[in-house]
Symmetry: C2
Subunit: 200 residues, 2 copies
């Protein structure tokens, strides 16, 4: 039985983010992360399968569960993309809002490392599939479910990007609303509104 | 100097698709692909760096070049997402339309293999970045460029999926128009249009 270690996951993640930022992801060992967190290597492996997982593990699990639970709980006639954004907003409040600094540092580390970017893409693809499945469970047809899930991920990526870069203190929830509006505006623009479309 | 080998790339790709479908991606060797195509192993390596690349190589290069060239050539005031879809339509005509059967078989093979799905995600991310760069070169601000590029990729994935699955003979160009309209309809739906939104 592992000893009870208050917030071992949070301490290990904070130590890992510090070390990755200081000396790079590749050069940091699990030994160093555990020592910096004041924990044993055994504690690390109680919570994470490998070094990469410290950047992905519990948070992406919690996100997926919260998003899909909220989608299932939305009123039945709510349009699919709105249901997806409500799910993402529930996860924003429950999982991300208190971790803005960590999210920003994590983003820089992931973007700098091709191997980590790849795992990020895979996690996003898995989340997209889970969202589409949650929509199908609401009776949304498969094509619309997949389209809405992908559109929701565009909103998610846009909002995360702005939230981790901005200093105005707006919540991720609000950035998700803004990003949905931005997607709507971008999608609605047609050539007819321009004055230089050669077909007009 | 390699001998001149008419459509060596096409022959190698067709042979690879046959063999991957018959016996699986993992169990097929480059030797077998070359032999089936009536070419040497050396010919294979004249065109592809490894076995996976036979599913990705020249086609994704041609697609990227065609899409970004077309975006650059669009009228300056065309809205960003419309420019992206025009780019994708140009690539649909030039690269994909004549290869529908190969595209459908390729999709099945990629979806069945995690390693190939991963490379597919990476290629799509690279195409997204190239599209965003082409939009920025038109003077589109970086946030809108990235959002429009991602939205365009949603249109692309939706259209490819329907085109490779449908038997109605509609062109990929038309499926891209349909998918853009579907994205517009999905994005435009708001809770106010439903009759069971608890906030109304």
């Amino acid at each position: 039985m592992p000893r009870w270690e208050p917030d071992a996951v949070g301490r290990l993640q904070a130590a890992a983010l510090d070390l990755f930022a200081e000396q790079g992801f590749e050069r940091t060992t699990i030994e160093e992360i555990s020592r910096r967190a004041g924990l044993s290597k055994r504690s690390f492996f109680n919570h994470f399968g490998d070094k990469r997982e410290v950047l992905f593990g519990p948070v992406s699990e919690m996100q997926r569960e919260t998003v899909t639970r909220e989608i299932a709980a939305c009123p039945g006639t709510l349009p699919p993309l709105e249901a997806v954004v409500r799910g993402l907003q529930a996860a924003a409040d429950a999982v991300f809002e208190a971790r803005r600094d960590a999210a920003a540092r994590r983003r820089d580390i992931v973007e700098a490392n091709p191997e980590l970017r790849e795992r990020e893409l895979r996690k996003q693809a898995a989340l997209t599939d889970a969202i589409a499945a949650a929509l199908r469970a609401r009776g949304v047809d498969p094509d619309t479910a997949l389209l809405s899930a992908h559109a929701g991920m565009v909103v998610h990526r846009t909002a995360m990007r702005r939230w981790t870069r901005s200093t105005d203190g707006r919540s991720l929830r609000d950035h998700l609303s803004d990003a949905l509006n931005a997607l709507r505006a971008t999608a609605a623009q047609t050539a007819g509104q321009g004055d230089a479309d050669e077909a007009s």
